[in-house]
């Protein structure tokens, strides 16, 4: 136990600098993935099939290949085409593209799910398609997809560990360096797990808080009750 604590004291700050890189990676990729994912979702809802089809192919390819392969391809093949990215930015690019493919499906579903009656009401007031998006569809779809989006953010945070394969000095790679000095894999990985847990747990709480803040108070009360009372009535019958 005392060995563990001395190691924690010695290497924990070093691991934390790795965690910082992990956080940077995931935050940048998250923002990138959200923007790109949203544009992809809009494009896939286009009436023009020459916009729709390439994006469908893009989403399929990115979802049907492993992230690690995508990262390796970006890091090692792009230089062949004269595009040299540092490990960090190759990681950002890979994670962004990967996340955008998944998020575009989340957004597309949320956009489609907005009540067509409300869309008709907005149109019948004289709104342009852009205004309908800005005033009705995006505000409703954004709140609707928050929980799923939060889940993807946590997955992304953990997927960042794969970036250690392309020699980015993030948390897991720092752990590998520590282990090569101390040969104490168990305690080091334990610390890594604790750090990952803290980061994920905190971001999950943040997403939950965001969801509660952005959802008007009424939903929590009214959404479930009618279903419950129906069940009770069925039981009585």
């Amino acid at each position: 136990m005392s060995v563990f604590w001395s190691e924690v004291q010695e290497y924990f700050p070093f691991l934390l600098t790795g965690a910082e890189v992990t956080l940077e990676l995931s935050l940048i990729s998250m923002v990138g993935g959200m923007v790109l994912g949203f544009l992809t979702a809009i494009g896939r809802l286009s009436k023009n099939r020459f916009i729709r089809w390439p994006l469908e192919a893009y989403v399929e390819i990115w979802r049907d290949t492993p992230l690690i392969v995508q990262l390796l391809l970006i890091y090692f093949s792009l230089p062949e085409f004269g595009i040299v990215l540092s490990g960090f930015w190759a990681g950002v690019l890979g994670l962004t593209l990967n996340l955008s493919a998944y998020l575009s499906e989340v957004y597309r579903a949320a956009i489609i799910a907005v009540d067509p009656g409300q869309k008709a009401a907005a149109i019948s007031l004289g709104m342009s398609p852009l205004q309908v998006y800005r005033r009705l569809i995006i505000p409703q779809a954004f709140v609707a997809c928050l929980p799923t989006q939060g889940g993807y953010f946590i997955a992304l945070l953990k997927d960042c560990s794969l970036v250690s394969f392309i020699s980015v000095n993030e948390l897991l790679r720092h752990a590998t360096i520590v282990i090569s000095n101390t040969f104490d894999s168990m305690n080091t990985y334990l610390m890594v797990a604790v750090i990952y847990f803290c980061m994920s747990f905190t971001s999950a709480r943040c997403v939950g808080w965001l969801e509660r803040t952005l959802t008007p108070a009424r939903r929590k009360k009214t959404a479930i009750k009618p279903i419950m009372s129906e069940l009770v009535e069925e039981d009585n019958a």
Partner: protein, 260 residues
């Protein structure tokens, strides 16, 4: 020289079909300023489609529609042309629609719902829009609920807010698509009374309904829609008291609304 004013709404030979099914098969209709025109008839007769075509929520396939002095679509021999989006939007804002399912914006409060068209479409500054929205809410007796969300309201209250949302736009015409069909019976009369008030204040109304009592209390003109045509139109007394065609007579009798 005749002094007949131009109709607020003028439809000539309007057609609409969904795939193989022809829903509107040549509709002619004139609605004049201050009129309360009620469309009645069997389900599937094209009443709602007609309303949605006037508002261009659905695009007609052929025919000429003139609304509030603007040609929204025109038929010239074989050539059919729909006005640019901008013209359609301008017309929609001046003849908003009230729906059977209310269709209030669920992420907004009652007040925000009513302000939406004013701020987004008419570009009225927020402060001024708030005043106008409150006035409209007061007219439907819903001012006390201005800060509630739609799913905290009863059906009748929702429909009153939806009427206020249309009313706030200060339109010359309001279209009603079965405004009381989704309401509990005890809430119907409140909403109908409001619509009746609007009519007596001079607003032009075009109403689709299945409620004969509502037609008889409020309509100036009744049009019977069936099989994609307007089969008969006239005053309440003409349609309910002395229908000219067998088809309409049967419908009136089966709905138990015959005036003797």
């Amino acid at each position: 020289m005749s002094h007949t004013p131009a109709p607020v709404l003028h439809l000539e030979q309007v057609y609409k079909s969904y795939g193989e099914t022809a829903v509107l098969r040549g509709i002619d209709l004139k609605v004049f300023q201050g009129d309360a025109v009620f469309l009645i008839g069997p389900s599937g007769g094209g009443k709602s489609t007609l309303l949605r075509c006037i508002n261009f929520l659905e695009y007609p396939d052929a025919g000429t529609i003139t609304a509030l002095g603007e040609k929204l679509c025109s038929q010239n021999r074989a050539h059919f042309e729909i006005a640019p989006e901008k013209t359609l939007r301008h017309a929609r804002a001046r003849m908003p629609m009230v729906f059977q399912q209310f269709n209030l914006f669920s992420h907004q409060t009652v007040l925000e719902n009513v302000m939406e068209g004013l701020v987004t479409v008419k570009k009225i500054p927020k402060r001024e829009a708030t005043v106008l929205a409150r006035t409209a809410l007061d007219r439907v007796h819903m001012l006390q609920k201005q800060n509630n969300y739609p799913d905290q309201l009863s059906g009748g209250q929702k429909q009153r807010v939806a009427i206020a949302r249309a009313l706030a736009m200060d339109p010359p015409v309001i279209l009603f698509d079965e405004p009381t069909s989704a309401l509990d019976p005890e809430l119907v009369s409140g909403v109908q009374a409001i619509i009746q008030d609007l009519s007596s204040q001079g607003l032009t109304l075009l109403v689709v309904t299945h409620d004969p009592a509502f037609v008889q209390s409020t309509a100036h003109t009744v049009c019977f829609c069936g099989d994609g045509y307007i089969l008969e139109s006239g005053t309440v007394n003409e349609i309910y008291g002395n229908p000219r065609t067998e088809r309409v007579r049967k419908f009136i009798q089966s709905s138990g609304a015959h005036l003797s």
